[in-house]
Assembly symmetry: C2
Homo-oligomer: 352 residues x 2
Amino acid sequence: MAEARVSLARLRDFITLALTRLGLPAADAQIVGGLMAQAELQGSDGHGVIRLLPYARRIRAGGINLMPDIKVLQERPGMALLDGDNAMGHLVMQRAAQLAIDKARTCGIAWVGSRLSNHAGPASLYARMPMAHDMIGLYFAVGNANHLPPWGGLDMLLSTNPIAVAVPAGAEPPVVLDMATTVAAYGKVKAKAQRGEQMPIGWMIDRLGQPLTDPKRAEEGFLMPIGGYKGYGLALIVGLLAGTLNGAAMGSEVIDFNHDDTTTTNTGQAIMAIDLSAFGDVAGFKARVDQLVRELRASERLPGVERIWLPGEQSHERREANQRDGIPIGAGLLQQLDAFAAELGIPRLQAP
Amino acid sequence: MAEARVSLARLRDFITLALTRLGLPAADAQIVGGLMAQAELQGSDGHGVIRLLPYARRIRAGGINLMPDIKVLQERPGMALLDGDNAMGHLVMQRAAQLAIDKARTCGIAWVGSRLSNHAGPASLYARMPMAHDMIGLYFAVGNANHLPPWGGLDMLLSTNPIAVAVPAGAEPPVVLDMATTVAAYGKVKAKAQRGEQMPIGWMIDRLGQPLTDPKRAEEGFLMPIGGYKGYGLALIVGLLAGTLNGAAMGSEVIDFNHDDTTTTNTGQAIMAIDLSAFGDVAGFKARVDQLVRELRASERLPGVERIWLPGEQSHERREANQRDGIPIGAGLLQQLDAFAAELGIPRLQAP
């Protein structure tokens, strides 16, 4: 079986139908399916359709509330704290983003945190949402498995806790940073394992401090933070803002969702929206971003460097290419999805 | 001449008197002197009294407005944009922090940005201010000289753009991250030069990509971002939030204040306050932070590691030690300050 290419609509409908068969109400399945397909469209392959099977495992084990009552626990004009009621994280974060956007219209900025949420896919999905309203988006999350010890330590008490920030531009693609506070996200380790590839030196070390490059041995070691103690500090701060502040899991409370399908993860996330119009002329801001982007791109380059990239520019090109040519699904993953479709009694992702 | 130790009050009064002689109104000189002494107290030696001479040079050259009208340009319930009127940055940021704290009391969170500000010392000074009001503080700034090219590039279009976040704890010291988005801040390079020390490999490279370790040759090379392209992305995002969003200088607009004493720097900064009480019980939050801090500190350690540190814990210990034993001022710096005191006709920092 070879790699397949499928349209965004087909991928979305496939995931949506699968989630419906797993028991999600149709409207919720559509939201999650749409966001998972968007993740795949932008090349976030560690957070896209590859997650369907682990999600299914958790849903079937009773680890997700399929009929959640997502509600506001605390509220001020510029903030809210959501109780996700153990729903699929995509549903909680879609609601959080909408609420942050609404509140930022009045306050200029807004912050919405969550507790009792779950894994919600790539951080940039949510950081990007305010952009359609001429707002900057920021997103912070506690990862769903600890792979990072404190600097100098061995106990894995921190996760890859990602940061995403999306800044609208004018004619240029938006500037979208989406980064784990570790050198590599754990989803990328899983994707390497899936493809049977080795990891570069620097992604992980083992408990003796030696480089670990075989993704199948990932559980014997831990991820490295960016910039040493600085990345440790960033991972901790993101965890305090997205987890501890919201009364969500942090440190040893974090559930490893790779090995535990039933315990409530109590995932914490936070999204922030900054309304550009509160700061002045929106078109003027976008023109300044365009100018800055062009200046950076035109920089003289180190020998051997073909092009200067802006954060989010490669995802932007991937999104356009995948929209045009279809989204590539690797042969191994496609085989798993076909088997899963047969099990659920739904049509395969790709027509035979 | 040997290293001296001076009290916080003595250092503050010395700087304040010097600034008064340079033309700052007494009340403004007191604010700046107090903050510069606080910087030195916490061990931020790249941002403390070492800056008095460059500030004096800029003030004498007419590069600072000594009678500024710092005013609110844009305002919403949860945000404000300040026009710093080219004042000393400390004055602008002190005002910004106060405004953010006031607004966060109502909105739950608040964000105050600045344009036409100037260098304001270490980022953590301002991120720490909301803590006295049971708030988390965040601070972002555009650095005052570009030392960082885009990833893969040679044109120094970005600065070390720092991030600081201060999170209150209960019985434990607060968690305070204060980091440049480069492996080392440029102030640390200057401090190495001041002390006649070499830099570690990894702080800077030259235009051929070779390690640069002599801080006296710093102008021939550039700083390295943390985590490679990730640090480049962070520096850019901080610059967009603290600079571009506020209509402050960014990219090629940034003035190198090491070489230009007269052009208005149009420095951009941003401070954010998050009111803990908006999210729930404050004491409960602080207890959760204490628990997390203790958990991290108790981690099993890599061979050779004596202690796990939390972000800000070393500064905290430095602050307590310096309060007790006096603030150490290196012999070289003391000599410069003595000469400067003689020139201004004010008493030396240390009584003879």
